[in-house]
Symmetry: C2
Subunit: 235 residues, 2 copies
């Protein structure tokens, strides 16, 4: 039977742990440690020794790549149940920072690698997730390199809406949908490889075209999902 730390875990069915039987969960729990971080706190620093990995329990994290002179690019976002960290790497290549308050279930990297050896189903699930993350990263390379500002913003809105929807409603992105952006304009710019000003202008343009309504800085209503998709594909 799973130990106490896990019984009320909100991501028990979705995180890597879902690959384990009760016995496995008990063994894994012995290696894990819960950790809470506050918004803005950095969990892993690029260049530091890769000592821990983690399953994200709640909150949102960003992974940031940076040039020597300080230009930054968000190269990954992590949501609850996602796996974070770089097993088999000696040091972290990127910095991981909390966008919101967050809760992590951390494991030491070495013991985790060893644990994988003995739990093939978890290793396999990690492989499948890594392959999916790789596919997603490649898709984003296309987007960063070849889409216009308008396409990028529209695409990101669709992604975020889908993710927000999945939490509250069944899928199907049609007819007015209202949700809160999980990030600031600045973070959107960092994800899309643009500047804050350009993101803001594109949102204003979308509003002017009657595709969106904006209220406050964070709340968005998609008034015309069809038009938004067209915008994402062609503008």
């Amino acid at each position: 039977m799973p130990t106490e730390i896990c019984v009320d875990c909100p991501v028990r069915e979705h995180a890597l742990c879902s690959s384990l039987n009760d016995e496995g969960v008990i063994a894994f729990t012995g290696l894990c440690q819960r950790r809470c971080v506050t918004a803005g706190e950095t969990v892993m620093w690029a260049g530091d020794e890769s000592r821990i990995c983690a399953n994200l329990v709640s909150g949102v994290l960003k992974m940031v790549a940076a040039t020597a002179d300080g230009r930054e690019q968000i190269v990954g976002l992590f949501y609850p149940a996602d796996f974070v960290g770089e097993p088999y790497a000696e040091e972290h290549a990127f910095t991981v920072t909390a966008l919101t308050n967050a809760e992590l279930c951390t494991v030491q990297r070495r013991p985790f690698e060893h644990f994988l050896e003995e739990h093939a189903r978890m290793e396999n699930l990690l492989l499948q997730r890594t392959l999916r993350a790789l596919k997603e990263a490649r898709g984003r390379m296309l987007s960063l390199a070849r889409l216009s500002a308008g396409e990028k913003v529209a695409g990101l809105l669709i992604d975020m809406a889908a993710r927000a929807e999945r939490c509250v409603r069944r899928p199907g992105l049609d007819h007015p949908v209202t949700f809160d952006l999980p990030m600031t304009r600045g973070h959107m710019a960092d994800v899309l490889g643009m500047t804050i000003e350009t993101v803001s202008r594109q949102l204003t343009k979308l509003k002017g075209a009657g595709v969106l309504a904006l209220s406050g800085n964070r709340t968005v209503t998609i008034k015309d999902a069809h038009a938004l998709r067209a915008w994402a594909a062609a503008r």
Copy 2:
């Protein structure tokens, strides 16, 4: 003892197969089939069912992502010993095409997935390689989104020189090094998210600055590796 197909395999020590003992190699060989492709031939089509995976034996392949209206971005290059394909995916997300004549050692996807289950060391090696590919893809996201044309070209030259060097000489990228570019200007542009013209102009600029010498379309001499690195980091 490995079967005939493998005894003279040039990547036997570097491909996924290196994780197998002789027994494993024999079993794996039973699933494999050699296939030769000519430059320009497409090996996997985006949208097609994912039916095969492969180890690249010789040659170079590109993986291309494309928008609906035809804009393209190379999201990965494959060199000998690299693993190509999308296990656990129902269909290919990207198109893979040979840049040069190439030789592949192909496996049916399903039997391969099944084989992995029974050969944990190969699965683990694939996991490690996938993690490394993911890290590389993320690094390229930074480059695509935030570097200038000059930085991108200089960086790619350094990468290609390092890869060429590794084949002929010991590492150490100092003092004049001459090598052949493994791709056209057009491919460089597709990798870097730019146009042919801009690539060409940057090379001309590098030549003018005395950092490079160009002879013919493909042959490059790095005359000042230090300056080239500076160019990659700052221009």
